[in-house]
Amino acid sequence: MNRLVPARLRLVDVARVGGAGLRARPLRVFLSALGIAIGIAAMISVVGISTSSRAELERTLDRLGTNLLTVSPGTRMFGGEAATLPDESVDMIGRIGPVTSVSATGNVTDARVYRNDHIPSGQSGGIAVRAARVDLPATVGATIASGAWLNEVTAKYPAVVLGGKAADRLGVGAAGPDTQVLLGGEWFTVIGILDPVPLAPELDTSALVGWAAAESYLDFDGHPTTVYTRSREESVTAVRTVLAATANPEQPDEVEVSRPSDALAAAQATDRTFSALLLGLGGVALLVGGVGVANTMVISVLERRAEIGLRRSLGATRGQIRAQFLTESQLLAGLGGAGGVLLGVAVTSVYASSQGWPTVVPAWATIGGVAATLVIGAVAGLYPAIRAARLSPTEALATP
């Protein structure tokens, strides 16, 4: 009875008192929470979209496999002449233990392909003519969009399979016995069109003919220029180290070995710097939102001097007044944060589903977003809350 110890305000009551200030001014609360929401939504959707696209890449790589290695001749150390691979290189690579399949294409350097004989010879459309081994689709994971792939028989005759982009450029919609293109001065029948090949994009712009047909009709020298090989997943790295020496034992330094799945992942990595830029912009939006909350709180304290005075006369300590305004500010920012997370997830899922990607929003981003708003609420509310608490009760009550 003698001791004067102020009662602790229960947590429920702190929240009620803080919330009461917000309920009284719904429009202002909505607008200043919106500022925070936009910032958080921007950051969540940037993170969500880039994570979703990475998830899509992983899904693609799972489907395509990461065990494809390609071997191609590099440049000669001396002399400008382009290097070639020995004819036996394909068979030698096939004899490496963990290699499960091997195939090859060879550039037919002098041949061009045209839709018909009226096309000027300069307009070759950037389409390369390549001789392909019959087992190529199985190794690179290519699928047929129309018609059929070369077989042992058609590989000997003037028949061609077009890559997806090559078919577009030539204006060939579907394969068939009546569809012919002029290839290296001979009429070749288009027997098939390929789907895009993500791991061997060079095939998309190629016209592929049988190895034997290339030699007999197009003066092909028979040298493979690109060897495609699949090996067991756990041995890919080991295979890679011996591939150059196996393909060309005399000049291993003239051989280039690459892993196409790495190139896909690298393209993704360049996207990441762009994401960082967008994330920065989202951060700026969040900062502006925080300033909005601070502004709202400062005005709120100025307007509510009489209320502060009344609460002091009802027995509120300075700390309780401070807690009231800090809570109000945090509720305001937290409201915006929760709205922003929902908005960000919605934007991500709309964008991802429009791209046919899986929607992935990492948990750290949502948790981080909400935590960031609580920090913003605390920082934005601190100064107004301290001002409110410092107000002397008599001065506050004197305000009309």
Binding site: L4, V5, P6, R23, S313, L314, R318
Partner: protein
Amino acid sequence: MSAAERRGAWTEATLRPSGRGVAPREGGAQGAQRSEDRQSVVVLADAAKTYPGGVTALDGVSLSVEYGEMAAIVGPSGSGKSTMLHLIGTLDRPSGGQVYVDGHDVAALSDREVSALRARRIGFVFQQFHLAGGVSAVDNVADGLLYAGVGLRERRTRAAEALDRVGLAHRLDHEPHELSGGEKQRVAIARALVGGPALLLADEPTGNLDSVSGAAVLEVLRALHEQGTTVLVITHDRQIAESLPRQVSMRDGRIVGDSS
């Protein structure tokens, strides 16, 4: 000894600085905080208040008010009665002399202790009512117990009882804008008395009301006094002051008359 006699003795004592009751006891831990006499809810001993800038609002005032008393502090504007209210209500501290409220030496209390004193022992009624808009009468009154550490359910129960005491049992769920001026002031009185304060301070409680509502509000205050609450009314209106049992007249920061 009757209440009036005791009060008389006190007034005399407070006027003499060396008097037995006024000065805080020197020894003992309690002495610093509590006055000797448990009969006085308010004791001002030569209390003065000078604001920064040199304005002297209160110039050595001595006064004592007993538990259960009802008194008016009356004076024209600028007489120092508002400053007196602030000192008695522990909203401000004296720049000279002592102020004891409910036995505590206000000057010796920290801000937290003074807040606790207000939360448990003092109820305020203001001229502008200071009700929260958009909040029902019962919740406005319940806020009077918020800082005394009472749970929400009990706050509401006791708020409903307090509204009943001021004759507003039928207005529990009305919001301030649905109430007349007199009803608003009665809600404010209910909020002041809901915590069972030792002292109810009313600052121009009828200042914003017409004479009929004003009379009704005074009637409520008088009824509370009869039930045992100490009521101090600060007013500039002589007529209102005359209607109360005791009048303390103020002018230029001094007490110029005390009817007791």
